[in-house]
């Protein structure tokens, strides 16, 4: 087996006593003090995550906007303003999801695309093979670090580290900033359901930023374990678990990221047909009172298996198990009673509409 890749913060994690695991070929911290502790820190105060394994691509040049419009499903017209950000998926001709992405409009004729670590090579090949000659690309993943700062007190911490006259970027925008003397790109985005930021900086500056953030007693280092429980409580889909090439954005509950009315894009006709006919299966949330649902467990309805758990975990906020699953559309309705086969036991569950957890700092900030 190949040596695991390391982020610029690898040594910091080891120093902090993190438990390191193989995640998509990367040596990543799954937890430091404990998943539930870290989860609570993000819901109540601030947690920081090293997500430098994620891929960063720059797409720029005269035809960049038109070319990206053909590749992603959402409408770049929504981020015409410099500094704004867009969540989108990228599909093949059949509407199969190649990846989910955040596209930041970082400059005139320039976009920063952040993609899943596990999809870096696939995405790069797909994007570059679908670009005309007047569009340039750069894979900046290796020299770029990404640190997520998430929680109701994230703004307070970031503002204390920032330069004089700092104006925080608005939700779903990105701006240049200086944090503790380091030049960074500061995005008001995240994957936890809390208010917060994602800091994009040069790999060589990552340790300095990380340590500056940890100098505040309110800040807890968090691993991928808490990242997963936090995102699942919000019902945010995870590539590889809740969606893949075999699923389409309509079935995955991401129809809102598909702008059928914009100019033509890859997968448009297939997705339009699925939307018209209605998807056969839909991704739903399921809650259980007992046990912890995990990926692959069978979901039963009136005695027959109707699907499998896509994502499943224990919700530290709610104190019970939560899951997602693709179910036939006719029963993919909130309130439907289902049964989960949790190994030897059959446990009662109920279909719900995510988010599982409401009233986070983000839901109050967004309203």
């Amino acid at each position: 087996m190949n040596e695991l890749k390391r982020t610029p913060l690898h040594d910091e994690h080891v120093l902090l006593g993190a438990r390191m695991v193989d995640f998509a070929g990367w040596s990543m911290p799954v937890q430091y003090s404990g998943i539930i502790d870290e989860h609570r820190a993000v819901r109540e105060s601030v947690g920081i995550f090293d997500v430098s394994h994620m891929a960063e691509f720059r797409v720029f040049g005269l035809g960049a906007t038109e070319a990206l419009q053909r590749i992603v499903t959402n409408d770049l017209g929504r981020i015409a303003e410099l500094g704004s950000a867009l969540y989108t998926v990228m599909c093949d001709e059949d509407g199969g999801i190649i990846d989910d992405l955040i596209v930041y409009h970082t400059g005139d004729l320039e976009y920063l695309v952040i993609a899943n670590a596990s999809r870096r090579e696939t995405d790069w090949d797909w994007i570059t093979s679908h670009l005309p000659e007047d569009v340039e690309t750069a894979d900046e993943s290796d020299r770029t670090a990404l640190i997520a700062v998430q929680g109701p007190r994230a703004l307070e911490i970031v503002a204390q580290l920032a330069h004089e006259g700092f104006e925080p970027p608005a939700r779903f925008t990105i701006a240049e900033a200086r944090l503790g003397g380091t030049q960074v790109l500061l995005a008001r985005t995240g994957y936890t359901g809390e208010d917060g930021f994602e800091i994009v900086c040069h790999a060589s500056h990552a340790s300095g930023v990380w340590r500056a953030l940890l100098s505040f007693p309110e800040v807890t280092p968090c691993g991928l374990g808490a990242r997963d429980t936090l995102r699942l409580e919000m019902g945010y889909p995870l590539y590889g678990s809740d969606m893949d090439r075999g699923t389409d954005p309509v079935s995955a509950g991401l129809g809102w990221t598909v702008a059928l009315a914009k100019s033509d894009f890859i997968g448009r006709d297939a997705i339009a047909r699925i939307k018209e006919a209605g998807p056969e299966r839909k991704l739903v949330g399921i809650t259980v009172d007992e046990g912890v649902p995990r990926p692959g467990y069978a979901v039963l309805h009136e005695g027959s298996e109707v699907g499998k758990v896509a994502s499943g975990t224990y919700s530290p906020t709610l104190g019970h198990g939560i899951a997602t699953a693709y179910l036939p559309s006719e029963i993919a309705v909130p309130g439907t009673e289902v049964t989960l086969a949790i190994r030897r036991k059959e446990v009662a569950g109920r279909v719900v509409r995510p988010p599982f957890v409401k009233n986070t700092s983000l839901s109050s900030a967004a309203s």
């Binding site: 007992e290 046990g291 912890v292 995990r294 975990t313």
Partner: protein
């Protein structure tokens, strides 16, 4: 971390012997590897357990593990407190985090188990 008055098996359970009754739980190493315990599924009083076979399950946020009985016998007491407070397994694995008490069938099985020093050496190889 590994009390001297207990015996241990390779599945990381501990056993405390008092006459022909043994108390069973999981070791410090096991609870640390699991992380925060969120669910413990235990059998009922009167159920039989067999050495080397599963008697329950323990779940953390990230993973699920089976619990293996180090001995053969009949369950005479179950720690019901763990259903409401499973985190006690992390906080006090050798005390309030105990799981079941078993009336032994064959005390010779205890000879197969490891003493604290042996178990510590076994764990340091596994870690």
């Amino acid at each position: 971390m590994y009390p001297k008055d207990l015996k241990y098996d390779k599945e990381h359970e501990w056993v405390k012997v008092e006459g022909d009754v043994v108390t069973i739980g999981i070791s410090h190493f096991a609870q640390d590897q699991l992380g925060e315990v969120v669910y413990v599924d235990l059998p009922s009083v009167g159920d039989a357990v067999t050495a080397g076979e599963t008697f329950g399950e323990i779940e953390s946020v990230k993973s699920v593990s089976e619990l293996f009985s180090p001995v053969t016998g009949e369950i005479i007491e179950v720690n019901d407190g763990l259903s409401d407070a499973p985190e006690v397994v992390n906080e006090d694995p050798y005390g309030d985090g105990w799981m079941i008490k078993v009336s032994l069938g064959d005390t010779a099985e205890l000879d197969e188990l490891m003493a604290a020093e042996e178990y510590e050496a076994f764990v340091s190889e596994e870690a």
